[in-house]
Every structure is written in C-alpha cells, then in structure tokens.
C-alpha cells in the first residue's frame, strides 16, 4: 500500500487535531469552565481517522458518547465543537447538545450519542436509505466494547444482514466498558468480531492504534461492502489513555499501565515510526503540522472562552420543526 503525500499528511493532521483537542480539553476541564461529563478519545485516534479517511460527506457515521474523535475525523468544525463543549450559543449545536451530542448531518455525521449502543440500529437505517438511493454510499456505526453487549447492537447486526444493506459496524475495543474490563464483560473470550461473524457477516480485525493497519484493512472491508452491498464489521484493538470520563480516578488500571500504553501504543508515534513505508514524508513536516494544530486549538479555545453564552430565552427553540 502506498499513499499520496497529501493523503499521508491529511491523516496525520486529523490524528494530531484529535489528540491536541482532547489533551487540551483535559487541561481546560480542570479550570471548571466546561460543564458536564466529558469522555476523551485520546489513544484511539488511528481508529477514527483510519476509518474516516476513506469516506466523503455522503457517507454517514453514527458515533458514541466518546465521540469527539469521530466528529473531527468526519470533518466537523473544530471551533464549533469547542464552543459546543464550552456550552456556548454559537456552538455547533447551539449549546444544547454538549460533548455527548455533537452532530452535523450536512457532512454525514448523524450524531454522537449518550446512550451506549443506541447508534447501531440508526446506522442500519441510514444504510437502508443509502441502498434505496443507490449511490454507493455506506453507513458506519462506531461502537465500543461496551456497546457490543447491548441488545440494540445485536438487533442491528441481524437486521443489517436480513435486509442486506451497506452498514458497517466498527467496534473499537479499548478494553474498558466504562470501568469494567473487557475480559470480564465480553463473554466471547474478549473477541467481538466473532459476534459479527455469528450474525452472518464478514468481519475483519486490525490494530486500532496503527493508522496504516486500520486504513488498509478498512479499505479491504469497504471494497467488499461497496461491491456486495452487504454489511460487514471490523474490530479495532485500541487504547484509551484517559478514564471513562474526565475525573475518573481510574483505580481499575494496573500500575504504570497508561505510561506503558503511551510509550508502546501511541497512534502518533506509531505513525511516525511507520510512515516511511507508505510514502516520502519528512518528520519536519509532521512537526510543522503539530505546531499549526496547536495554534488552531489555542485559537478555538480562546474563541470558545470568549463566545457569547446561551440566552435563556432560547430554551424552547427547535424542539419541533413546527408546533
């Protein structure tokens, strides 16, 4: 597999943006300016980007409560997201959604979701729409190892096979369902892909900390889905660098676990180690992207901090289109 310089640099920029967005939120949350629950995507960047670099705006995704990475990878406006997470009136969802409910249907981002497992059937519905439109588009449900235990996910996988639609179930196995270990909570010997296979669809597995592996395997999966019009699944073995939510004391972690993961399973480090195999990219170019990204995140935070708060007079707007 060889990739163009543009493709390589874009993928890195997306991962760097997610990483810096989340690392910065981790700091900003401590200041008390960000209300509510926040679930950070740090560590899983290669998963979202390895999948979404194959997509365009007509392809659709549904996301999870840990959705910032999927939003950025699908192309949501980063400043709009930051404002949303700060709860500001011109946030991407007017301050009514917050961290767990970011969506932009104009780019095929059908919504992050506060309910674990709720998105999978919605992706099947979007895939039904894609099949009817006959436009070759796909719909992807991002799910975690937690959502793989929800009945909705089982129902969705079965329905997708029964109706034969281009729905793709991406299971990001970060080894923790909230605070519970996957070895305990996933009965199929920690293996999620085999569940999809049991429902009658093809399933792939990839290293979800390695952009190149995820991207390559996802490419094979998409070739199959777009050609056959059938559903498929992929399990991405990935890592969560922070807790379930910000403020989680993470007493369930082994001593030194996060330090080890950051050393050996960091998507950005792995990218730098491997990029030479896929095309000529200079490390200085990646450094420059890091700097540009840092400046962009700085600006986004600053804009969010200074943005107008929500107006209480708007509390009942947009409940309905017409009522």
């Amino acid at each position: 597999m060889q990739l163009s310089r543009d493709a390589l640099l874009h993928a890195y920029r997306q991962m760097a943006t997610i990483r810096q967005f989340e690392e910065r939120l981790h700091e900003e949350i401590k200041t008390g300016q960000i209300p509510g629950f926040t679930h950070l995507y740090c560590g899983q960047e290669a998963a979202a980007v390895g999948v979404c670099e194959h997509l365009d705006n007509e392809d659709m995704i549904v996301s999870t409560h840990r959705g910032h990475g999927h939003c950025i990878a699908k192309g949501c406006d980063v400043t709009g997201m930051m404002k949303e997470i700060f709860g500001k009136r011109d946030g991407l969802c007017k301050g009514r959604g917050g961290s767990m409910h970011i969506a932009d249907t104009t780019i095929g981002m059908l919504g992050a979701n506060g309910i674990v497992g709720a998105g999978a059937p919605q992706a099947v519905g979007a895939a039904i729409a894609a099949k009817l439109d006959g436009n070759g588009k796909v719909a992807i449900a991002f799910s975690g190892d937690g959502a793989c235990n929800q009945g909705t996910t089982f129902e969705a996988m079965n329905l997708a096979v029964v109706v034969g639609v281009p729905a793709i179930f991406v299971f990001e196995n970060n080894h923790y369902s909230e605070h519970t270990g996957v070895g305990y909570a996933v009965g199929t010997s920690r293996d999620i892909a085999s569940r999809a296979e049991a429902f009658g669809m093809k399933a792939w597995r990839a290293n979800g900390c390695d952009f190149f592996d995820t991207y390559k395997v996802m490419g094979e999966l998409l070739d199959y889905v777009r050609k056959e019009g059938k559903p498929a699944a992929i399990e991405l073995d990935t890592e969560r660098f922070y807790g379930h939510f910000e403020g989680d004391p993470q007493r369930y972690r082994a001593k030194g676990e996060v330090e080890r993961l950051r050393e050996t399973r960091d998507a950005l480090k792995i990218y730098r180690d491997r990029v030479g195999e896929f095309g000529p990219v200079d490390m200085a170019e990646l450094d420059a992207i890091d700097s540009e990204t840092a400046a962009m995140i700085d600006a986004a935070v600053s804009e969010a901090q200074n943005a107008e708060p929500c107006d209480p007079a708007h509390v009942t707007e947009d409940v309905y289109v017409a009522y």
């Binding site: 409910h101 969506a103 059908l110 709720a118 059937p121 309905y320 289109v321």
Partner: protein
C-alpha cells in the same frame, strides 16, 4: 366522498403517499408478511390489514418486513429519517414501546433539539393500541399519555376514517416525529373520507357533538363512547359538547377552554389508568386556566389503577363505559 373503514383509510393514505413520494418507506413486523415462507411475501399484509397490497406495489425494498426487533425497527427508522427518508415504522402493539423506549424517547424525540435545530427526523411511528379484545395486560394498553409527556414527539390519535387520512397525511408531510395511535377496536369503523390530499392540521380539536350544558373531552376510542352517552343524554334534554382533541401533542387547549367557559362543567374520558393520564392533564389545564368558569368539580372517567385484565368480565369492568360517562355528566349537573 368515499365511505370506508379506518383500516382502509390508513392503507389508502399510505399507498397514495408512497406513490407521491419515493422517500416514504415502511418498516415493521409482518407488514408485508410471510417473508421467507411458503405462503409468499404478501401472505399477511400486516396483522391489522393496514398494509395489504403495499409490498406488491412498492416492493420489499420500501415495505420492509423486519425481524422481531422493535429497537432496531425504530432505530433504523430514525437513521433512515436522518438520511433523508420518511419512514413509517409499525409497532404491532403500542405496549411494545417498553422494548424500544430508548429509540423513541432518547433518540428521535431529541435529535432536533440537542443537535441545535439542524436536523429533521420525520418518522411516523404507528402504534396499535387499546383494550377490548381480551388481549391481556401486555397487548392492550393505551400509552398515548406516556409519549405525550415527551417533548419533541407529536402524538395523534384518529377516531374517524377522515381523520385517519387527514392526520396521516399531515404526519407524512410534516418534518417532526409523530406517534400515530390506532385503536384496534376502531379499524372497522366506517365513515366518509374526502378524496385527494386531505390534511388535518395538528392541534385542532374536532367538535364531535355540540350541546352546551356539559363539556366532555374524550380520547381515541372513548370519543365513540362519549358520543353514545351524549346522544342518550340529549334525549333527556341534556346537551353535551363532545371534544375529540385528535392530537394530544400539540393539544388544542383553546377548544377545551372555550367549551368549559360556556358549560362550566367538565368530564374527561380516557382509556388509561388515572394517575398521570390525559385525564389529569386536562383537569390541570382547566383548573389553571378556567378555574372561575367551573360550576362543579371536573370528573374523570378512566380505567382503574390496574393492568388490563384478560377475562371478558374483568376487561369490561376495566374499560370506561358509556354508562360511566353518563353518570359522570350527571354528577356535574347534580353538584351543589
């Protein structure tokens, strides 16, 4: 105007909508019916007969028989709607909202609001409801009150063939999620149905009877019972306004308040247990906004606070009756 049943009015309205708009699709259990069987995919046409012939005309890609997976049915309808379709999802019994509650109350009800007003989710969920067929505790409930309590959902409950058509067209041409409650005992009810694209706007009550002495607000099948009671009372010289709100969300408050301001007497008839019901909701509305107009304490005619029983004798005792409505009307007149 053609005379037809509510069942046929719903079937015809959906058929016309699917002809008019290729984005209208259907999902549900057995709605085509018989998929994967020797009888063939049109063997059933929906257990209520409301989707007979549709799969033949529009094909299994648009009239989708689903596995028994209510969360997936409503969830898939939600996703298809976000992707630009106008799905009609059928819950064979409204009792099944317990199975797919999340997709109804946390998902489709909230997308537009929590995503900042940038999305539309025009799902029509058909919920077949109601007691009177000895279907037991899990296949007989009238849950329109539960979904009326959820901001973001609209709730319609047609009681005539014309309104079935008009409200269904309104639901299919609007951009909000609509919970469309169809009483299983009303499917065979006949009436005139206007030709063409007949629409009934939501939030506009129908005055089923005008009498002027007592206001009866009734919901769903209870409208027929209220009409029966009103007709009997009319023969005794007591005139009742019978108001069929047609939609509980939005609710035509004005029609109810206007009538109560004239009559000073209110009876609400609701095929639900009494607590947190449409009956208590209407009483609260009138207490708050028409308190000084009342000449007697408002009366509720509801089911008792129990599950719906099975046996004929018990179920008959459970469902509010025309006699109970008559008695409630008399209580408002005899008071003081």
């Amino acid at each position: 105007m053609a005379i037809m049943t509510i069942r046929d009015a719903i079937n015809e309205t959906i058929r016309e909508a699917m002809r008019r708009d290729k984005d209208v699709i259907m999902l549900g259990e057995d709605i085509a019916g018989g998929a994967g069987t020797a009888g063939g995919q049109e063997a059933i046409g929906g257990i209520w007969g409301t989707s007979v012939g549709l799969v033949g005309e529009f094909g299994p890609e648009r009239v989708i028989d689903t596995p028994i997976s209510e969360s997936a049915i409503i969830g898939a309808a939600a996703g298809a709607a976000l992707a630009g379709k106008r799905p009609i999802a059928e819950l064979m019994f409204s009792d099944f909202i317990g199975v797919c509650g999340d997709q109804l109350i946390n998902q489709i009800a909230k997308f537009r609001y929590m995503f900042g007003g940038n999305t539309r989710c025009p799902v029509v969920v058909r919920l077949i409801y109601g007691a009177g067929m000895n279907s037991g505790a899990q296949h007989s409930q009238a849950f329109y009150n539960l979904l009326t309590a959820i901001p973001g959902l609209k709730v319609a409950l047609p009681t005539t063939p014309a309104d079935a058509k008009g409200l269904m067209n309104e639901a299919l041409m609007g951009d909000d999620p609509v919970m469309f409650f169809e009483h299983k005992a009303l499917f065979g009810k006949k009436g005139e149905v206007p030709e063409g694209l007949h629409r009934v706007p939501f939030g506009h009550a129908r005055m089923a009877r005008e009498g002027g002495d007592v206001t009866i607000v009734a919901f769903g099948r209870m409208v027929s019972f209220a009409e029966k009671a009103a007709d009997a009372l009319a023969e005794q010289g007591i005139g009742c306004d019978v108001i069929d709100p047609r939609t509980t969300s939005p609710l035509d408050e004005e029609a109810i308040l206007d009538s109560v301001e004239q009559t000073g007497r209110l009876v609400v008839v609701d095929e639900s247990p009494p607590r947190c019901s449409m009956a208590t909701d209407i009483l609260a509305l009138v207490s708050e906004k028409a308190f000084t107009s009342l000449d007697a304490p408002p009366q509720m005619v509801t089911a008792p606070h129990s599950p719906v029983p099975f046996s004929k004798e018990l179920e008959r005792a459970w469902v509010p009756s025309p006699d109970a409505i008559t008695a409630a009307v008399r209580r408002t007149l005899d008071w003081g």
